[in-house]
């Protein structure tokens, strides 16, 4: 059975999928888990992939789906905790870690992006960081290319508002203004 081909898929795409997930999730360990799960799923399913299929877009779609499911169950868990008056310790543990991350990188844009609603965050990251086309993004998010584009635009608008008068030239270099 020719599974060597899959090793090439991992070699070619794991780094990028991991980077994508690291940008859209809020805990580094989530990116580790979700990127592994993405490729385990892909391995199970790649037999059904059509010969000339766009493997990269397909992997993004799997990763995006996992990310959304993960987000949904996280949200459910948070709500359940709140309902019984618990403070979410795992979330707290992730918080400072993430803050430090952002401080260190001091990417103001990154901070705004991570606070975006999930679909916008995913669409924006796929488009502006990984440069996927809107068709692929739409497929990942189960929506039309047009809606995918609208999510990206919405994200850009929020980034623009979030930056206010902050000099963007500095943002690129990562120096937060006062």
């Amino acid at each position: 059975m020719a599974d060597q081909a899959f090793e090439a898929v991992v070699a070619a795409h794991h780094g990028e999928i991991h980077r994508y997930l690291a940008r859209v999730t809020r805990r580094p360990s989530d990116a580790d888990d979700l990127s592994q799960e993405t490729f385990l799923r892909a391995y199970r399913a790649h037999g059904g992939l059509a010969p000339g299929a766009n493997v990269r877009a397909w992997l993004f779609a799997i990763a995006t789906n996992l990310c959304r499911n993960h987000w949904r169950s996280e949200a459910r868990r948070r709500r359940a905790h709140e309902a019984i008056g618990h403070r979410d310790e795992r979330q707290d543990a992730g918080g400072p870690e993430m803050e430090a991350e952002l401080e260190q990188a001091s990417h103001k844009i990154g901070a705004i992006v991570i606070a975006l609603p999930l679909k916008q965050r995913l669409a924006f990251t796929m488009r502006k960081i990984h440069e996927l086309d809107y068709d692929a993004i739409g497929q990942s998010l189960d929506c039309s290319a047009e809606s995918a584009r609208a999510h990206v635009f919405q994200a850009l608008r929020k980034i623009r508002r979030g930056l206010g008068d902050l000099a963007i030239a500095q943002v690129g270099r990562g120096e937060p203004s006062a």
């Binding site: 059975m1 990188a105 963007i168 690129g172």
Partner: protein
């Protein structure tokens, strides 16, 4: 060209599109028209273009977190584990009814007669394997099987994965059964003797009852010591009969108790290197457990046997 003049709010999507360099010509035109009369939006466009520029830096910057190296190493580990466990299967409509064919990376690991199309994954899961339907990877196997069932090939030379065998003993029984060539029949007792366990014929029958690879591991070529076609795929003796007919084995007493026609096969005694006709010596009085029988001279000679020098099957062949 002073059609409609969009408000700042209305023009913003087009403005973003222009900044991102993906605006359609009409959108670009709308923006131009608006910007000509709006200094504020000219500045806005500059801001969006700066954001666009900053993205280049962000694309090059490493993602937050520890980097993918550790995750990649862990992934390789989990993939290696999954590879040994994952059975890719397809369900196909064969001449014998619906069959499931499944294979791991090591080889074909399961062939199963199904009562219906449902429940395939369930049965595999019960065998402790992780299963995923993958017709693309298994349809080639089904083509081979179809050729076999149509008599266009006599061997299924597939790499096999016998790890779904329940025990070491069962694996040894399956391996001994695999050595029975097309057109040959032996008894459970004969297989037991071959394993050096002459009293284990019941255990052999039990092991073959749970054969994970029927047809491929030809348990249909193993019969009772009196030639009865006992126990197959639950109680589907008809299937066993069909598979043996395909190999040219003559049977008698159809219906509920078919058995190998002892007068219509060639015999090879224990570890003899010659084959005989049924009337040679005391063959007809002996248990089938002492022999491997063959459907034809060609099958016997294909197994490397020579005609017996006393009964001369080469001179007195059985009627075809």
């Amino acid at each position: 060209m002073t059609r409609e003049f969009l408000t700042c709010r209305e023009v913003e999507p087009d403005l973003i599109a222009v900044a991102m360099d993906e605006a359609s010509p009409p959108a670009a035109q709308r923006v131009d028209t608006h910007l000509a009369g709006c200094a504020e939006c000219r500045q806005e466009l500059g801001r969006y273009q700066e954001i666009e520029g900053a993205m280049t830096g962000l694309r090059r910057a490493p993602a937050p977190g520890s980097g993918p190296t550790l995750a990649r190493a862990e992934l390789e580990h989990r993939l290696a584990d999954l590879r040994t466990r994952l059975v890719r299967y397809g369900v196909f409509e064969s001449a014998l009814g619906p069959v499931l064919i499944g294979a791991t990376e090591q080889g074909v690991s399961v062939v199963e007669y199904l009562a219906g199309r449902g429940g395939a994954g369930v049965k595999l899961a019960r065998r402790g394997a992780e299963a995923v339907e993958d017709v693309a990877r298994t349809e080639g196997l089904f083509r081979d099987l179809t050729e076999y069932l149509e008599g266009r090939r006599t061997r299924l030379d597939w790499p096999l994965d016998l790890r779904l065998a329940g025990s070491d003993f069962q694996r040894r029984v399956l391996e001994a059964t695999l050595r029975l060539p097309f057109g040959a029949v032996a008894s459970y007792a004969r297989i037991a003797r071959e394993l050096g366990l002459p009293k284990a014929s019941r255990a052999v029958a039990q092991a073959l009852r749970h054969n994970p690879l029927p047809i491929v591991v030809p348990c249909h070529r193993v019969v009772g010591s009196d030639g009865d076609l006992v126990g197959y795929a639950g109680n589907r003796i008809g299937l066993k009969q069909q598979l043996l007919s395909l190999e040219g084995i003559h049977m008698k007493g159809g219906g509920r108790s078919p058995h190998v026609d002892r007068d219509a096969v060639y015999y090879c005694h224990l570890d003899d290197t010659e084959y005989c006709i049924p009337t040679c010596g005391t063959i007809s009085q002996q248990s089938l457990g002492n022999f491997i029988v063959y459907a034809s001279r060609a099958r016997a000679e294909g197994a490397g046997l020579a005609p017996c020098t006393s009964c001369r099957p080469d001179l007195h062949p059985l009627p075809a």
